[in-house]
């Protein structure tokens, strides 16, 4: 394959980026928008992380030392909303923006103006969400699950929070449409669907999930809004409504949502492991089918979040079986990653370390997920710290770790500079030790009986909470270090080659580092 460099691109009488601040406001370039998304996501990760630090600070010792319980609830609620909608989802959209057009051999995203819009909605949405802290009654405090009737007791910030969620939803749906149209229309000749890199496949499926469920969330929160302000009674038992109905609608969105947060991660890891094992992915097509099965099953398991609401036994059995079934395609993925490593010739640069960390710790989160699927046992686990440990293993050491892996993997391509390998390794080990000190003891806390979403606890839980808080602070600091590493790489460093990684395969490595402003103006040749 030929290397398309910045020089050839000039021959195509193309404009470069505009200068200064307006470049970023008006840009329709997939790389610029990708960068915006990624930076936004990093900022939100720090904001959500700061809230987590407040939570862990209060939980450091029994007794209430620092914050009012009402404010504590605002912290957990907004921490989760910021992390999910502000950190993880935009990070994956940023990766999609940067990589999808390149990976399919196209010049840009299919709908560049909409792309600009879907990004620029986000800063306003989150400014609105965060502004609710300064309103009478503070931010939402009913948990990110927004269960009525509790959430309806919120202060003046409530409608702003709902509106912010609507904006995030619109942004996500537009992003998803763009992804689908790009994948279907922008592929280079010869790039058949079953030749696409797995990251493209997982995003393709994720985008359908997004389009299917974000409107469901929008509907649910709109019903909350009318219940509160227009005297409807969708969820009010006193008016003939049903508070449990909300939970069904919410989790019909919510469970696919957790796969929205993890499928692109599967794609990232499936790209990185073969590179550093110097061996092709073990079962490409079975990976594609497993992703599709997971996506399908994710629509019929939602009530496993509601085993304790008092469903009929038939319902409980159905949701228990369906949930257990999801373990099968997930297992297929893990087995495939390991078989890819098996008999490879592995090296352990930072992206590989984060990917291996992902596989191990995501699997630990998967195990606790399997335990949670057993309905009678879930009657004990539900709403305890065991659940908090479970979803942080899949979200932090799962989704976030894959994003870190992706950042290290592609930063040299994006910036043209190698990151500092030694610092990357330090970042990995600091994060991995601290994240386990942070979340592993929470399994014990939950089993021993500590409920989640509480600002204070009885003294028998003191020791593990202290461990967990120490781990939390260390993990938080390690991520500040990550910001520094990224900053340093953008500023300079050893020049990266086009290939960057010895074992890397795929179209992105045929472009220069950094790639030209418009990726493939002439379609590459696909072998």
């Amino acid at each position: 394959m030929t290397t398309v460099t910045a020089d050839t691109h000039d021959d195509h009488h193309d404009h470069g980026p505009a200068k200064g601040f307006m470049r970023w406001v008006t840009t329709t370039n997939h790389k610029d928008i990708g960068t915006l998304y990624l930076i936004f996501s990093l900022v939100m990760f720090m904001v959500g992380g700061a809230m987590a630090m407040v939570i862990r600070l209060e939980l450091f010792q029994p007794g209430l030392q620092f914050v009012d319980p009402g404010f504590f609830n605002q912290m957990t609620t907004v921490h989760a909303l910021v992390m999910i909608f502000g950190a993880v989802m935009p990070a994956f959209v940023g990766l999609a923006n940067w990589m999808l057009p390149i990976m399919v051999g196209g010049p840009d995203m299919a709908l560049p103006r909409m792309n600009n819009w879907s990004f620029w909605i986000l800063p306003f949405a989150f400014a609105m969400l965060l502004s609710t802290f300064f309103m009478d009654g503070g931010a939402a405090a009913g948990g990110w699950t927004l269960y009525p009737p509790l959430v309806l007791q919120g202060g003046n910030g409530f409608p702003y929070m709902i509106f912010a969620i609507h904006m995030m939803g619109i942004s996500s749906v537009m992003g998803a449409i763009n992804v689908i149209v790009t994948i279907l229309n922008m592929r280079a000749p010869g790039m058949t669907l079953m030749k696409m890199p797995l990251f493209v496949w997982t995003w393709f499926i994720t985008a359908y999930l997004l389009i299917a469920v974000m409107p469901v969330l929008a509907g649910a929160v709109t019903m909350l809004l009318t219940d509160r302000f227009y005297d409807t009674s969708f969820f009010s038992a006193a008016g003939g409504g049903d508070p449990v109905l909300f939970q069904h609608i919410f989790w019909f969105f919510g469970h696919p949502e957790v796969y929205i947060l993890i499928l692109p991660a599967f794609g990232v890891v499936s790209s990185i492991i073969p590179t550093f094992a110097r061996k092709p992915l073990f079962g490409y097509s079975s990976m594609v089918y497993a992703t599709a099965s997971i996506a399908f099953l994710s629509f019929i398991v939602w009530a496993h979040h509601m085993f304790t609401v008092g469903m009929p036994i038939e319902g409980e059995l159905f949701f228990m079986y369906a949930t257990m079934l999801i373990a099968v395609p997930t297992g297929v993925k893990v087995f495939n990653w390991i078989s890819t490593m098996w008999k490879g010739s592995m090296t352990f640069e930072t992206p590989m370390l984060f990917s291996i960390g992902f596989v191990i710790m995501f699997t630990i989160g998967g195990f606790s997920g399997l335990m949670l699927a057993i309905a009678p046992a879930d009657f004990q686990y539900h709403d305890t710290y065991f659940v908090v440990a479970h979803f942080h293993y899949v979200l932090v050491t799962g989704a976030i770790y894959s994003i870190m892996a992706a950042a290290y993997y592609w930063l040299p391509k994006w910036t043209g500079n190698m990151y500092n390998e030694k610092m990357g390794q330090w970042h990995f080990w600091l994060s991995t030790v601290s994240v386990n000190v942070l979340f592993f003891p929470q399994h014990f806390l939950g089993l021993a009986g500590m409920p989640r979403r509480i600002p204070d606890y009885s003294v028998q839980f003191a020791e593990f909470n202290m461990w967990s808080s120490i781990g939390g602070f260390a993990f938080g600091l390690s991520q500040v270090f990550f910001c520094y590493i990224v900053y340093k790489t953008i500023k300079g460093g050893e020049k990266a080659t086009d290939q960057v990684w010895e074992g890397a395969e795929g179209l992105e490595w045929t472009l220069s580092s950094p790639p030209p402003y418009h990726s493939f103006t002439t379609a590459p040749e696909i072998k």
């Binding site: 620092f66 319980p69 304790t308 008092g310 373990a327 490879g344 600002p455 009885s458």
Partner: protein
């Protein structure tokens, strides 16, 4: 260098694990004191060991491969990929393991759902932030909230060391009492928002949802005191509505029940007398303070200052300082859609009259009038 780091990480993990092993607190789910809780515990351990076994195989293979298949050891990558056999094996084997897991889980679930043939029933209602227990068919009905010692220690900046408080946050003023060896059926509901009733030693939790009645049951084998907490986020003081269940021998339970009934009769008579004879304003204010502290401070705060934007202040409130009818209506009937619930379902006429009078003449207000229990009774 890499090895060194791994060793270091491993060492840290080991010290951590050993410090965990020496500690005396719970690491695992309690076995509990009912047949159900033991079955749940067994299921938990079964699935845990299944996961550990799969983990050993999966992580073992990974670690093996990371040690031996590394480039620095001169490993050369073989290029094999795609194997239908492998894919089928690792789809079918987990599937079979799951079926083996699902069988006992189904059995336990069906047992847990069968609340029929109970010896007695108790209605449990969640309120922000206390529990109400009504013994169905017996004239016993009371509230149970966080005990005073914990409540004092848990205030922000109380400077009281929680470890000096007995059962900090896990103690209540009036525990639920049930007999040993009897099948007790619980009917769970809530008056305001969703709560969940959970005593880990009984092996389950169940949501208490406004407008719904959920069923659950226990049959406890050993007398004792069992503690739990509300498990569903229910607002500001969600962390502060514990559950304590005293399980007594049948004889002790009978004695306790008789005593409760006696107390209820006395309280009812006192209320009757107050209704007919009326109370002085001072008596009302004094009684009102007790009622206020027990029922209203969680939201309106000790000095009536409220919490801006969420719970209005009573001090200087236009409603409280205005015509009394509006205030009586607010306290008796609450306001739909807010945290202010209808207190006529929770308090008797004397208590209502007392707390209303108290709010008008204390907490920085001095309207100077009072209301008699009989006036409240007339409005029911």
């Amino acid at each position: 260098m890499n090895k060194l780091k791994q060793l270091f990480a491993g060492g840290a993990l080991l010290t951590f694990m050993s410090s965990v092993a020496h500690a005396e607190y719970g690491l695992n789910m309690p076995v509990g004191v009912t047949e159900t809780s033991r079955q749940v515990y067994d299921l938990h351990m079964l699935i845990l060991w299944v996961c550990v076994a799969i983990g050993v195989v999966v992580f073992g293979a990974m670690i093996w491969s990371m040690i031996f298949h590394r480039k620095s050891k001169g490993a050369v990558a073989s290029q094999f990929h795609e194997s239908m056999t492998a894919e089928v094996v690792w789809t079918v084997v987990p599937f079979i393991i799951l079926i083996v897991m699902a069988i006992p889980a189904t059995k336990v679930l069906i047992d847990m759902h069968d609340a029929s043939e109970a010896d007695m029933s108790i209605k449990v209602t969640g309120y922000q932030w206390k529990w109400r227990y009504e013994y169905i068919g017996e004239d016993v009905d009371f509230f149970s909230s966080l005990d005073a010692a914990s409540n004092e220690a848990r205030q922000v900046g109380s400077k009281i060391d929680p470890s000096t408080v007995d059962n900090y946050l896990l103690n209540v003023d009036r525990p639920l009492v049930i007999p040993v060896g009897k099948k007790v059926r619980f009917l769970l509901t809530a008056s305001d928002v969703i709560h969940a009733w959970w005593v880990p030693d009984f092996g389950w939790k169940k949501d208490a949802i406004p407008g719904f009645i959920n069923e659950a049951w226990v049959k406890v084998d050993e007398p004792g005191v069992y503690r739990g907490q509300c498990a569903e986020l229910c607002g500001r003081d969600h962390g502060f509505m514990p559950i304590v269940v005293e399980v007594k021998s049948e004889a002790d339970y009978a004695i306790w029940l008789a005593a409760q009934k006696g107390e209820e009769v006395v309280a009812k008579m006192e209320a009757e007398v107050a209704l007919v004879e009326g109370l002085t304003a001072d008596d009302l204010i004094q009684k009102g303070e007790e009622v206020y502290r027990a029922n209203c401070v969680a939201c309106h705060q000790m000095k009536g200052e409220g919490i801006a934007g969420v719970f209005p202040a009573i001090s200087g409130s236009a409603l409280v300082n205005g015509p009394m009818d509006a205030q009586i209506d607010m306290v008796m009937n609450g306001k739909v859609g807010t945290a202010m619930v209808a207190f006529k379902n929770q308090l008797n006429d004397v208590e209502l009259a007392a707390v209303i009078t108290y709010q008008r003449n204390s907490l920085g207000n001095s309207v100077g009038d009072s209301v008699q229990p009989s006036a409240i009774a007339a409005l029911r």
